[in-house]
């Protein structure tokens, strides 16, 4: 091959690279065999306590639901796993059709008219929603509810402040909350999460009415997609954009990624939407087919005038979501959501019965906040030594904020067992007595 290309040696092909920079000495080991790699990485894996290893109650934006075996089999099919973005639609109808099915499922779940083909995750989808609202309203002020997941709030802030916009957030305290008073005629959008990070359920209709009076849009955030199976949809409450984290349907915890950003909106705003969109059309013989569409919004056509710099979605995670949703349908999702809710109710009852533990939520879906009589981070650490992941302590989400020190956010799903709840309650009793 070298001869064909007219090179004497391989480095002839690298002749444009500065000589002294070519072939650097790398302080890295040489290659390992397959079983040596398995051994090396397996040792890391064994150092971790997996969620399935014991009682597990962590949530706060990432949830452990059951993923049917079918899902993982389908997403490992070569034709899905090792395909590229469907730039040649005639040989990518598999990907395009499931994206169309995904968009329909997301629109239906959120109660919205249209959805895109997914974003990186819930937090970046939220930041993109704020930018979209800015394009629509031509205003530069974002109001965030106090119950918005703090990571999401920080991501919005990072993106908005970059372009000189104002970002205001109500205090992050459980249950506090009227933000209606913060909305004014300069407000571009109001970002409200429900269930919020403390597990409180918000009345989106009331906020929407107030926001619309001021010409502002409402962005509803859902970090637990399974909740859409049991709660009134954000779309039915009149909001303008719904964004969310789709991980809890079809996708594993994966230590935080890859996850799946959901993004749904009203039909009238589709040309302002970020991200890929899949649309229906016909081929030369009139047969139905699907293509990526409205790409004149996107960076490869519009460059610095694009709606977003995004050039990918979360394709395979969207497939996992679509397959899992297609196995559940509205019926199965409602069953999973009901079980998750019931298990959370049982957990709340068990914790409430412990002296000094206060459940702060009257209503919740599968997650709620308790106030402990001592530092929640220390309690969580203590219970972790017994193999119990008790939840997410407030200080983990709001480092350095003393008023969250005793708060513990507890989540349950259909996988939570009565014995897990007992173990948590017993462990907590002991930890608090010490």
């Amino acid at each position: 091959m070298l001869k064909t290309v007219g090179a004497r040696n391989i480095d002839d092909l690298f002749s444009d690279v500065p000589k002294d920079a070519l072939n650097p000495k790398l302080n890295l080991p040489d290659h390992k065999s397959e079983f040596e790699v398995e051994r090396h990485l397996g040792a890391y894996a064994r150092m971790n306590h997996a969620a399935g290893d014991g009682p597990f109650f962590a949530g706060a934006g990432a949830y452990r639901h059951h993923v049917p075996a079918t899902v993982d089999h389908i997403i490992q099919r070569s034709e899905f796993l090792t395909a590229y973005t469907p730039y040649q639609p005639e040989i990518a109808q598999g990907t395009l059709q499931y994206l169309f099915e995904f968009q329909t499922q997301v629109a239906e779940l959120t109660g919205m008219e249209v959805a895109n083909a997914s974003m990186y995750d819930g937090s970046t989808a939220t930041a993109e929603a704020a930018l979209m609202a800015r394009r629509i309203t031509k205003r530069k002020k974002v109001i965030m509810a106090g119950g918005l997941h703090p990571h999401y709030a920080e991501v919005v802030r990072t993106n908005e402040e970059l372009i000189g916009d104002t970002v205001l957030q109500a205090p992050a305290t459980p249950g506090a909350g009227a933000i209606e008073g913060m909305i004014d005629d300069e407000t571009s959008c109001v970002i409200v999460q429900s269930p919020d990070v403390f597990g409180f359920l918000r009345d989106l209709a009331g906020i929407t009415e107030k926001a619309h009076q001021h010409g502002a849009l409402v962005v509803a955030v859902v970090t637990e997609a399974v909740s859409l199976g049991l709660l009134k949809s954000p779309g039915s409450q009149g909001v303008d954009i719904v964004v969310g984290e789709g991980q809890s349907i079809g996708n594993a915890l994966n230590f935080g990624g890859p996850y799946l950003g959901l993004f749904a909106a009203r039909q009238k705003h589709i040309r302002h939407m970020p991200g890929r969109l899949c649309g229906e059309t016909v081929d030369t013989e009139g047969k139905r087919g699907f293509v990526l569409t409205l790409s004149t919004r996107e960076q490869h056509i519009r460059r610095d005038k694009a709606t977003s710099n995004i050039c990918t979605n979360s394709g395979l995670c969207a497939l996992a979501f679509t397959v899992h949703m297609s196995l559940m349908g509205g019926k199965g999702l409602r069953e999973v959501a009901t079980l998750s809710h019931e298990n959370a109710c049982k957990t709340a009852d068990a914790l409430e019965a412990i002296d000094g533990v206060e459940v702060l939520n009257d209503a919740f879906f599968n997650e709620f906040t308790v106030r402990l009589p001592k530092n929640a981070g220390e309690v969580v650490d203590q219970l972790a030594d017994q193999g119990i992941i008790a939840g997410v302590p407030g200080t983990r989400l709001w480092p350095g904020r003393e008023e969250t020190e005793n708060l513990l956010i507890v989540a349950a799903t259909e996988l939570t067992q009565d014995s897990d709840i007992e173990a948590l309650a017993d462990g907590l009793k002991t930890a608090l007595a010490a």
């Binding site: 399935g52 709340a348 009257d362």
Partner: protein
């Protein structure tokens, strides 16, 4: 004899209705224990009805999605020569490792002491990425290449603001051949974009660039090797010039595969570069994501890196989630949690399997394969720029002049021959561009089959066999799709058929 069948199926090509047309609203494909019926605590927020979505049984779901899968082309089926996309083989060991419960089944906010192995893995990957790029720091959280660009440009913006130049340094120089994400990212960071012209040999015009530099320039964003598949020979002079003018050098690392193990951006004057783990380090593209875009940073930009960061203190690994101490100047958080762990496992699995020796070979073989394709195809096709290329070979449509056949037609005819087409009409600097990146994982046999077929097609085009191209693809699951119609009247979701129309039937 007609080409149509009664069913619409054609042997192994099976037509697939939408799941909404096949599924049931009463049945479903999962079984759950019966609810206990305890009193709900939804406080009036519950919906009365189930969501209006149908379900499959498990066998129905398998058939639906397996049949769909068979309408896709994939790297596991054949060469996928998309330029700038680095479609290489995805080793299955990576998939197996990523699915170990110790990685897949851990929560991002689990107590640090319960996830030391995950943090150790990320830390080791950080060390590999820094060593391979010759850079002192890396931000792991960006979710994809474009997100990594955003990370690098946000760090640059923060550095400029720290010097009190936030209001004055507002311009970013981007070559006209750049990926669209570069100008879009610069704009998303509030910068204005100024285009850099190219020289006749397809590289950034150094003198023109110098002439554009000034106290208002924040950064240059340059891809190297560039999108024409060429190494920017003047890269150090470019870096020196922009640094002298007080700006920063962002390098788009999309094409890092060409130089991995062979040259390090850190030795060439780069301040920030994203790395697409889904290109160079073989994590699967998955039909359009998820990607992963860790971004390496120079000493100058390191203080501004985003949180979270994974650090080692003694024998313990920690996640820094607060903007204090060493991270007081951080530009903040760009994503919830800590990045694409699933991709980190796959990428490290790939790196360990290749090692320093194997990764060098990756760079070498990717460049050798591209040059082999370049030389062989130049027999009939016109190179975008003369001379050697790096990991991808660029052709223009000049050789198709007067045939009535365009780049699109040629690409669609490749589909009929059993190949995925190359990148078309990009970069924009070459007329009817065809950008071919074979990657190092194609054998000589595979490259020869590919080149023989393209040369045969090229000769057919020149011989006036227009039908073969204009009607292509003829053998794909669909003929050419009407993209104009899709965009003019967008149908972005399934809706139930109009009941009145159904009643009239």
């Amino acid at each position: 004899m007609t080409n149509e069948t009664f069913t619409g199926h054609k042997a192994l090509q099976l037509e697939v209705p939408l799941l909404f047309e096949e599924g049931s609203y009463e049945k479903c494909g999962i079984d759950t224990p019966a609810p206990s019926g305890i009193k709900s605590r939804l406080g009036g927020h519950g919906a009365d009805e189930q969501v209006n979505l149908p379900a499959f049984t498990e066998p129905q779901a398998m058939r639906h999605f397996v049949r769909l899968s068979q309408k896709n082309y994939a790297i596991d089926m054949g060469i996928f020569p998309l330029g700038s996309c680095t479609m290489k083989h995805n080793p299955r060991l990576n998939e197996k490792m990523a699915r170990l419960p110790g990685f897949a089944d851990i929560h991002p906010l689990a107590p640090e002491k319960t996830v030391q192995g995950a943090l150790a893995l990320i830390h080791e990957l950080q060390e590999w990425l820094c060593e391979l790029t010759g850079m002192p720091a890396v931000a792991m959280s960006p979710k994809a290449g474009a997100h990594g660009e955003l990370c690098g440009m946000m760090a640059i913006r923060a550095a400029i603001e720290a010097k009190g130049e936030g209001k004055t340094r507002t311009r970013v120089l981007v070559p006209e051949s750049a990926h669209g994400t570069n100008p879009a990212t610069a704009a998303q960071c509030g910068f204005s974009v100024d285009q850099l012209p190219a020289t006749e040999d397809g590289r950034v015009d150094l003198e023109a660039m110098k002439a554009k530099l000034g106290p208002d320039v924040a950064a240059i964003m340059v891809t190297n090797p560039n999108t024409c598949g060429l190494f920017e020979r003047d890269i150090r002079a470019m870096a020196d010039a922009v640094h002298e003018a007080g700006g920063y050098f962002y390098c788009d690392g999309a094409n890092f595969n060409a130089i991995v193990g062979k040259a390090r951006p850190g030795d060439l004057g780069v301040d920030a570069m994203h790395i697409n783990l889904h290109k160079t380090f073989s994590t699967p593209h998955g039909g359009g994501g998820p990607g992963s875009g860790p971004t390496v940073l120079s000493e100058a930009l390191r203080p501004f890196a985003p949180i979270p960061a994974i650090v080692k203190e003694g024998d313990t690994y920690r996640i820094i989630e607060e903007e204090t101490g060493d991270f007081a100047k951080s530009f903040g958080r760009m994503v919830a949690f800590h990045g694409q762990m699933g991709m980190f496992v796959r990428a490290l699995s790939y790196m360990l399997s290749h090692g320093a020796d194997g990764l060098k070979k990756v760079g070498e073989d990717s460049v050798l394969n591209a040059n082999y394709v370049r030389v062989r195809l130049a027999e009939e096709m016109t190179q975008g720029y003369p001379g050697l290329c790096m990991h991808e070979a660029l052709f223009s449509d000049k050789w198709l002049k007067d045939t009535g056949i365009g780049t699109l037609d040629f690409a669609k005819a490749m589909i009929d021959e059993g190949f995925h087409p190359m990148t078309m009409y990009f970069p924009l600097v070459v007329s009817g561009a065809m950008l071919i990146e074979p990657t190092e994982t194609e054998s000589k046999q595979s490259l020869d089959e590919f080149c023989d077929s393209l040369l045969a097609l090229a000769r057919a085009a020149k011989a006036g066999e227009t039908e073969r191209f204009k009607n292509a693809p003829r053998f794909a699951p669909r003929g050419r799709l009407d993209e104009t119609r899709a965009a003019r009247k967008p149908v972005l979701r399934w809706t139930p058929p109009n009941p009145e129309a159904m009643a009239a039937e």
